[in-house]
């Protein structure tokens, strides 16, 4: 961790903060264009290509158009919360970037000031990112609740459950990184990856993180909160104009945030990738910013690729996947890493013993790979359960059935109206 953090002059901090904001907004505009172009290529289409070179200005034009649209607040909405929700969703998305390292220490052009390419660093930097991005969920839940619409409510409910579940798996993968890096500070983690990027020794954690990050950002195939086919727009169904634009912005910034975090934790942060790393100047000056953004873009491409290929998972399948598979796997992996680290430091093992340990690890991994089979067994069990459920409600002939449902309907409606009258 650089000594400069916390002692920099105020104007350096302001310049860096503004730059991060600008980079994020421009990157979002670029990503929207990038997504549309890449998906278009996957679908035998052209994509936006009219405004600006290669259509690059399309998202800017869309953004301006969106801002000029009428701002509608539904009558049924809770106005204060309704207005507040997009703001709550957007601000934390930007705040997370305070601790993301873009590069090493550099000299600011035209001055003698040396500063790290990172706004600030905390001893608990990664935990700070987790904490701040969690606040963004409030924005979505409140948006769903305050809209006064069924679709938005269901979308908000789904997203709260989804993001909280996947945050656990995500947080667990961080633990193994912390164990390897010996620090929770993002700058220190990047430093620790000088020899080897963490995705090699911590590959399972990397895979789990990548899955969890897609779930965390509500992107396909886990985009249940905004499942167009069933919930129209999910939590932002009722939103229009700039408020909608803020949600859109938050979603894309979050996408970049989790990608940047993945880069920082597993792909060596701003360090130059393999062939370029042989060039001595690769990790100095402003070049690392390019490597960093390049790696982030690779993750964005992965997001887009998934969206272009996969259908949406169903809510319960998705939850089952998260809780019954992803979290146990992440836990098991964390325990394994702990044991290996402990054994390594206590017994000062030689290479041969380590190899034996590695063999044991391989066996464990083999066992882990058997888990999908037990998942299949789960599915069968579920189907049986479903049949039993259907059997518990035998389907009577149509007229009889109709009356029975009608009757329950009526009693329920009466019950409701009585309750509301009492209120």
């Amino acid at each position: 961790m650089s000594d400069l953090f916390g002692t920099e002059s105020w104007w350096v901090v302001i310049v860096k903060a503004v730059l991060i904001f600008v980079v994020l907004v421009v990157y979002t505009l670029f990503n929207i264009w990038f997504e549309r172009r890449v998906v278009a290529k996957m679908q035998h289409r052209v994509g936006p290509n009219v405004h600006g070179p290669f259509g690059l200005l399309q998202s800017l034009a869309d953004g301006v158009k969106l801002a000029l649209k009428e701002d509608i607040i539904p009558t049924a909405a809770d106005k204060v919360v309704y207005v507040l929700a997009p703001i709550i969703a957007t601000i934390p998305a930007f705040m997370a970037w305070a601790v993301i390292p873009f590069g090493p220490e550099v000299k600011i052009p035209f001055t003698d000031t040396v500063t790290p390419l990172q706004l600030t660093d905390l001893p608990v930097g990664v935990i700070y990112v987790l904490a701040v991005t969690s606040i963004g969920i409030y924005g979505i839940v409140l948006a769903g609740w305050s809209s006064g619409s069924t679709y938005a409510l269901l979308g908000g409910m789904r997203s709260s459950a989804q993001m909280i579940s996947y945050e656990i798996a995500m947080g667990l993968t961080f633990v193994s990184v912390f164990l390897y890096a010996g620090s929770m500070s993002t700058a220190a983690i990047v430093e620790a990856q000088e020899g080897m990027w963490f995705f090699i020794p911590l590959f399972p954690a990397f895979v789990i993180y990548v899955i969890a990050m897609v779930g965390e950002t509500n992107r396909a195939p886990f985009d249940l909160p905004e499942a167009e086919g069933e919930l129209v727009g999910g939590f932002h169904t009722e939103y229009s104009s700039l408020k909608f634009a803020l949600f859109f912005l938050a979603e894309y910034v979050n996408m970049v945030t989790v990608s940047a975090l993945a880069t920082t934790l597993f792909l060596g942060g701003w360090r130059a990738p393999y062939p370029i790393a042989f060039w001595d100047g690769a990790n100095e000056g402003y070049w690392p910013v390019l490597w960093f953004l390049g790696k982030t873009l690779a993750f964005i491409f992965l997001f887009i690729w998934l969206r272009g290929t996969l259908p949406r998972m169903r809510y319960d399948q998705f939850m089952k996947f998260g809780w019954k598979w992803l979290i146990p796997a992440a836990l098991a992996w964390t325990v394994l890493v702990m044991i290996v680290r402990k054994v390594q430091s206590d017994l000062t093992l030689d290479r041969q013993t380590l190899l034996i340990v590695a063999a044991c690890v391989a066996v464990v991994l083999l066992l882990v790979s058997l888990i999908p089979e037990s998942k299949k067994a789960d599915e069968v069990e579920d189907e049986v359960e479903f049949d039993a459920f259907a059997g518990g409600f035998p389907v009577p002939p149509m007229p009889g059935r109709q009356t029975s449902t009608d009757r329950t309907d009526q009693t329920e409606t009466t019950a409701t109206s009585t309750t509301s009258r009492e209120e």
């Binding site: 789904r158 249940l224 129209v232």
Partner: protein, 406 residues
């Protein structure tokens, strides 16, 4: 009397049921939460909702995310077409007929002209019969491709739509070349077809069919092999053969439930008899009766239809040149009486009950359209699903709203 019956009343959306995850009490359990009194939520899906492609409205009663009751409300697209049939002459009603199911326009035209020809006792030239068979099959492919693309789209895969539309475009080009229409072909006439096909057209059809056939595996690989797609559709929306019989469900949906009925084979019209004898016409059936089976049925039906088109092309080449229509008098009048003609439309059985009093317009032309019956069975299929399954089931019932409301 429910809230929906009061004009202007808000469909009361009260509390959210037992929660999205716990259906404990429904299964008769006594776990935590099962004793808490909950109210059901009424969710109106449609009439304007992306999953209903059109203006079908479903009134769902939800307990959490589980559907406990479903009521399809139809009629938002009622155009009074049966009444209009009674004030249009026999040439004009074709244009109405091809609009009630806009994805199978050619097949719908066919039913009407066949009914009129049947009344008149008219013999259609052989060349026209083969051309009609071929065009009907091309129309079937177009229809199925639409659903092969839109169904994955509904459950979240955006790419298959464009793959399907590329194939549709290929076939639509030849359809457009022959008829001038891309959707409403208006190529049938009482007694045959509007005109003969352009020179060299059959070659282009052959090329288009070959191209589509070669690219169909791409759609199949993208969709059918997908783990998520299988998890979303297998065992979902089970439709039993008994329900198929009770509700008169027909077409690929019925065949996916193991009801082996296909008028092309069982009561051959046009040239299907010959094609069935030759063994080209296979009736695709599945026994699972779930959404996945319905989708598979469509995929296989496309393959069969493409083979049928090729067979028709081969027959057409052997035929001597000749007329493709019958010269009609200025005013076509069907003799007094009634007839019932039914055809195997892409979406199921379409029936046409034509009653004539010897005038130049039908006295009554009753339509039996496939989608109406296929949608009527929805309450049984949907009850017990979760909301996300609702889309997976609804999309796999393959309906066209215009065909429901007529």
């Amino acid at each position: 009397m429910t809230d929906a019956d009061v004009p202007g009343a808000r469909e009361v959306v009260v509390g959210v049921g037992a929660g999205a995850a716990g259906f404990d009490h429904e299964r008769g359990g006594g776990g935590p939460g099962s004793s808490i009194a909950t109210t059901d939520m009424v969710l109106n899906v449609g009439p304007q909702h992306p999953a209903t492609h059109g203006v079908l409205r479903l009134r769902l009663t939800l307990d959490g995310e589980r559907v406990v009751a479903c009521e399809p409300i139809v009629g938002y697209m009622h155009r009074g077409v049966e009444k209009l049939f009674e004030v249009r002459d026999y040439r004009q009603i074709i244009v109405l007929a091809n609009r009630h199911d806009w994805l199978s326009a050619f097949s719908s035209e066919l039913g009407v002209v066949m009914a009129v020809e049947h009344m008149l006792g008219m013999e259609v030239p052989e060349r026209a019969v083969w051309l009609r068979t071929m065009l009907a099959e091309l129309n079937r492919v177009l229809n199925h491709l639409m659903f092969l693309g839109s169904y994955p789209l509904e459950i979240g895969a955006i790419t298959p739509m464009f793959y399907a539309f590329r194939e549709r475009e290929t076939i639509q080009e030849v359809m457009e070349e022959v008829s001038g229409g891309r959707m409403h072909y208006m190529f049938n006439r009482v007694g045959g077809l509007k005109e003969d096909v352009p020179a060299g057209w059959t070659g282009r059809v052959r090329a288009a069919v070959a191209a589509v056939r070669s690219r169909m595996p791409q759609i199949e690989d993208l969709v059918l092999g997908n783990e998520i797609f299988r998890a979303r559709t297998r065992g979902i929306g089970y439709l039993s053969p008994e329900l198929v019989h009770a509700y008169g469900v027909s077409g690929p949906i019925a065949r996916a439930s193991g009801v082996d009925l296909d008028l092309r084979r069982d009561e051959p019209y046009l040239a299907y008899g010959t094609l069935a004898d030759e063994g080209v016409l296979e009736v695709v059936t599945r026994t699972e009766g779930d959404s996945y089976a319905r989708y598979c049925c469509l995929v296989d039906q496309v393959r069969v239809s493409l083979a049928l088109v090729d067979a028709c092309l081969a027959h057409l080449e052997d035929l001597p040149p000749g007329p493709v229509g019958v010269r009609l008098p200025k005013i076509v009048k069907a003799p007094e009486g009634s007839t019932y003609v039914w055809t195997e439309n892409p979406l199921g059985l379409n029936g046409y009950y034509l009653v004539s009093r010897g005038e130049k317009t039908p006295w009554r032309l009753k339509l039996r359209s496939a989608s109406f019956n296929n949608v009527a069975v929805l309450p049984h299929v949907l009850t017990g699903c979760v909301v996300a399954d609702m889309v997976a089931v609804l999309g796999s019932m393959f309906f066209v709203v215009g065909d429901i409301d007529k």
